[in-house]
Amino acid sequence: MTVPNADAKPFGRTASLLSPFRGWEDSPQEVFARLLFLLLLVTGVATLLLVLVMVAREASPALFTGTGLWGLLITDPWEPLSQPARLGVRHAWLSTLAVTGVALALAVPVGFGIGMFIAEIAPATIKKMLQPCLELLAGIPSVVYGFFGYVTLIPWFESAFEMATGESLLAAGLILAMMVLPFIASTSAEALGAVPRDVREAALALGVNHCSLTCRVLVRHAAPGLFAAVALGLARALGETLAVLMLAGNSVAVPGSLLDRGQPITALIITELGEAGVGSAKRQALFAAALVLMTVVIAINVVIGALKRRILHGGA
């Protein structure tokens, strides 16, 4: 094998990125393959980053003109037809908050319970059967959940609460809870299962029962992972579109209670975008709402990433 002379490389510093393994033969085929794969990687990631940039660019006029971000989020009502149009999305993020709150309030305890069941109590065969079930629950498309809620929950709401229409934030939140449940359950099961063996054995050697072991010892050790599970559920719930669009009732009034109808941010965007002309203030406001949503979700994902790294590196 000839050892290529490092100085002969044309690229200087990048050369080490392209050919880290100095000393293996640089046949044209090899160089081509390496460059091709690098190109594919860069194209892919760059395209995805372009998504973020484009959404931010479309949104920026709404953030820096008129009443700005404060007006968009807090003070202005959603009155696109008034003169001049007032484009605040307070009702939307309040609705998003309400459905997400209901969903997490239900899915976090049940999800943690399923996580404990999988990690601690379930016999191996049941564990094996439960995991595909959770994958199934996670895989059902949003629109099917929306439809399922539409034919089951909504008629039931109408009769049980004597509502004119059963569409409400509560109904959307209930279905959303089912949708985020598998993510919370499997992530928390993973976190509890990753608690080192010696911790578990030390606790058992002291004669504690299942309850104390799980609730007092394991939960403390798995805390970052459990937090990541909640964050994952939150991120999922915030971005969910079709189910909340079909169940929350699509009303632009600011919701006063969980039984009111509402319009989460995602539902607002889908409903209004078709009627928002290119370059119109309405479209900019919709993109600004999307940008806020995207920023929050990405921030949550960054936190999850940091937590995961902490779990992997054995700290807790």
């Binding site: 372009l50 439809f147 299942h210 991120a235 889908i270 995207m294 990433g305």
Partner: protein
């Protein structure tokens, strides 16, 4: 004596506590079974009767939408969208993953890219839809079309496949790479003969899951490609019907519940097929 009594009492308390805990955890565990099984069973019960040959093979007719005829254009449209999406996403995602596991020695690049991938996989699908709408549909003037929708779905799948393929390739032990390279073969040869056959199944599983996710995802399609009604026939520059958007339209116009049940059931059946094939792929790899 008093101390002994209180010790007994606390012992009994602890037994109670443990019993309650175990029962509670068992019951939520069982809920984890019941929820998915009952949703699927419900859709089967209500939708199975509505799936007929006519539904699968005919175009929708008459007004309001879905009151007669079938959903064939929606099935075709969904399949075509996912196919185009895969054409876009597969090379970028798998090629990128190969670069990360096989070619770069920079751990920092690897970590940065997989972190980016995970963040982007978490971005809601509707954001990709907005990008497709503002960039592809409006800026590049593709209009609502199969092509714009396909590329958008490709972007939805890209980070999922990238992470899945990266994990699958990374799961191949380093010793195989080292052994091959120690024999003096080229990196490409080592990859083709040694690494890829071991990682193939994992990559395939990731692709199937991503494809199914894209197939059922309505938000990006509603913003870039779908129409309420089309006569069928696929053309890159014209819009299409899709199964998820069809289901949405059927519900929002409250036209045909029966067809809606059938459409929902078909979406779920596809999911079951995808999940089972992933299980099969994984078990084959395990052997």
């Amino acid at each position: 004596m008093a101390a002994l009594n209180s010790a007994r009492r606390s012992e009994r308390m602890r037994l109670w506590q443990d019993g309650i805990f175990v029962t509670a955890v068992w019951s939520v565990g069982i809920l984890g079974f019941i929820l998915p099984v009952s949703i699927v069973a419900f859709l089967f019960y209500r939708g199975a009767g509505a799936i007929t040959w006519e539904l699968l093979w005919q175009s929708p007719r008459s007004f309001p939408l879905g009151s007669s005829g079938g959903i064939r254009p929606a099935i075709e449209g969904s399949l075509a969208l996912v196919f185009i999406g895969l054409v876009v996403a597969l090379p970028l995602a798998v090629g990128g993953a190969i670069y990360l596991t096989e070619y770069t020695a920079s751990d920092r690049l690897r970590r940065a890219m997989s972190f980016c991938g995970e963040c982007l996989a978490g971005v809601p699908a509707i954001i990709y839809g907005l990008f497709g709408y503002s960039f592809l549909v409006v800026f590049l003037q593709m209009r609502f079309s199969l092509l714009a929708g396909g590329i958008t779905l490709g972007l939805v799948m890209l980070p999922i496949i990238l992470i899945g393929a990266y994990e699958a390739l990374r799961a191949v032990e380093a010793k195989y790479r080292e052994a091959a390279l120690a024999l003096g073969v080229s990196r490409l040869y080592a990859f083709r003969k040694n690494i890829w056959p071991k990682a193939r199944a994992g990559v395939a599983a990731a692709v199937v899951l991503a494809g199914d996710h894209a197939f059922g995802s309505a938000a990006p399609v509603l913003l870039t490609a779908s129409v309420i009604m089309s006569k069928g026939g696929l053309d890159l520059s014209s819009p299409v019907m899709t199964l998820p958007s069809h289901l949405y339209y059927l519900v929002s116009e409250a036209s045909s519940l029966e067809q809606a049940y059938a459409t929902a059931l078909i979406l779920v059946l596809l999911l079951l097929v995808a999940n089972v094939s992933v299980l099969l792929i994984r078990s084959r790899q395990g052997r």
